[in-house]
């Protein structure tokens, strides 16, 4: 399990995370379903999880966290904890990875 905390050191506008090439994903009824072709397992994210993953893969983690804090009216540390858990789960499942060269 990854123990890195995200959103610590913004480097540039490059997202810190990406969905690997072996993962297919799509939106379904506001949620996200991912298919890991290597494990042939499906994974479902609710609307909030989908929003977090979308933001983390479109912008640097720091910017994503700032936007999430604003949009969901939640304390940064609470949000960071939840996002860390989600990222760890997704990374362990091979559904998310850090962009090469990050960190």
């Amino acid at each position: 399990m990854t123990t890195d905390r995200i959103g610590a050191e913004p480097l540039d506008d490059t997202p810190d995370f990406e969905i690997p090439a072996h993962v297919l994903y799509r939106e379904v009824d506001g949620e996200m379903v991912l298919l890991n072709l290597e494990t042939e397992h499906y994974f479902g994210l609710d609307a909030i999880g989908a929003d977090i993953v979308t933001r983390l893969t479109e912008q640097p983690a720091k910017a994503a966290l700032d936007a999430l804090v604003a949009d969901y009216a939640v304390e940064l540390e609470v949000l960071r904890h939840d996002v860390d858990d989600l990222v760890a789960t997704l990374v362990d499942a091979g559904l998310l990875e850090r962009v090469e060269g990050f960190g």
């Binding site: 297919l24 379904v28 298919l35 072709l37 042939e40 397992h41």
Partner: protein, 378 residues
């Protein structure tokens, strides 16, 4: 059986090239005293050919009610003593002793799309004797970039605002669908020579990956790829649905569109990566088009994006999430409780109505629910 089902099976029997190839292949492969397994038997044709070839017995398996018709046809042709019929999904069929040969005609347009790979892989694991033979034994698949007006038109229809409605959401589905077309050379133009993308045994249900680079020879509009197979039926017999082959069988080909058509010219390179997951039923195709060193277009498609999915459906795929309780499950529990081995279906319907009839919008729905459960039980 519906008229369309019967029509489908008529087509299988009427394809003289394919019928002759299966008959000749079974004559080569089947040895006297062999037990032959016919998976997805339909009317049972392949089992009769196996009997002609000298099989001691045939086990014909089909999930549909057509198995009753196959039983009748077997009797009408004098094979009732040599053919056993099992109504079951192929991967759930059981046999008393391992079989020597398995035969199947569920090849689809590009092999993965009609179930033969998963059926044969399962048969190899559970049903075939060591050294058991498969008909077909192996496949090669080919693709070629094409100009294909009908295929492009089918995609762009969804952007055309038919009936004045914005149905563009369906276009995403259309460009991520492997579409079936019965093709002749008049229907499309090959922009480059076709290329073999993968070759594999017929019991291969692991991922199939392949790639090819096509150098365009004919100027035209790149609409996507058309794919076909070549099946090795026996040491001396092959069949193909290659639209340009004079010997092609009467079988559709699969068209893999790209999102936006692109005009290409001689010397342009079209690269393709194909990824087929037989167990998942997912096909992905991606690549790029380049002129010299200039990238002109990248494309990435998958039937995963083209399938109709709802949150409810997705929930059945996600195996790591808790299965939620529902009123429907509770109703199912009631029905299962009522099925005690002595009640008739009518008894179950009546008792369920007395207990929880208000859970159904009508008595017809209640009866249909019970009938579905009873069907599962058989």
């Amino acid at each position: 059986m519906s008229q369309s089902e019967l029509h489908e099976h008529r087509g299988y029997l009427a394809d003289e090239r394919k019928v002759a190839a299966y008959r000749a292949a079974l004559a080569e492969v089947v040895m006297p005293a062999d037990v032959v397994l016919d998976l997805g038997a339909g009317t049972g044709m392949l089992g009769y050919f196996a009997c002609e070839a000298g099989a001691k017995s045939v086990i014909a398996v089909d999930r549909g009610d057509i198995i009753g018709l196959a039983r009748r046809i077997a009797a009408d042709n004098g094979y009732e003593d040599r053919i056993a019929h099992i109504r079951a999904v192929s991967v759930e069929a059981r046999v008393a002793t391992p079989v020597d040969v398995a035969v199947c005609d569920q090849i689809g347009g590009l092999v993965h799309d009609a179930g033969i790979l998963t059926c044969f892989a399962d048969a190899r694991r559970r049903l075939l004797a060591p050294g058991g033979r498969l008909v077909p034994a192996a496949f090669r698949i080919f693709l070629v970039p094409v100009t294909f007006d009908l295929g492009r038109g089918t995609v762009e229809f969804w952007a055309s605002k038919p009936a004045g409605l914005d149905v563009g959401a369906a276009r995403v589905v259309a460009v991520n669908t492997e579409a079936k077309y019965n093709l002749t050379p008049d229907d499309l133009t090959a922009l480059a020579p076709g290329a073999e993308v993968a070759a594999f045994a017929s019991d291969h249900d692991d991922p199939i990956r392949g790639s090819a680079t096509f150098v365009v020879e004919e100027a035209g509009r790149f609409d996507g790829f058309v794919g076909w197979f070549e099946a090795c039926m026996s040491p001396s017999i092959t069949i193909t649905n290659d639209p340009w082959s004079a010997d092609r069988i009467d079988r559709w080909c699969n068209f893999y569109p790209v999102d936006e058509a692109l005009d290409v010219g001689p010397g342009d390179r079209v690269r393709l990566r194909l990824d087929v997951r037989p167990r998942l039923g997912v096909v992905s195709w991606s690549g790029d088009v380049a002129r010299g060193r200039v990238d002109r277009r990248h494309y990435r498609h998958s039937t995963f994006r083209g399938s109709f999915l709802t949150a409810e459906t997705v929930g059945t795929f996600v195996r790591d999430a808790p299965v939620p309780r529902s009123d429907r499950l509770d109703t199912l529990g009631e029905v299962l409780h009522l099925i005690d081995g002595s009640r008739t279906q009518s008894d179950v319907v009546e008792a369920l109505g007395d207990r929880i009839g208000s859970a159904f919008v009508s008595s017809a729905e209640l009866e249909a629910f019970v009938r579905n459960v009873v069907t599962l039980a058989r």
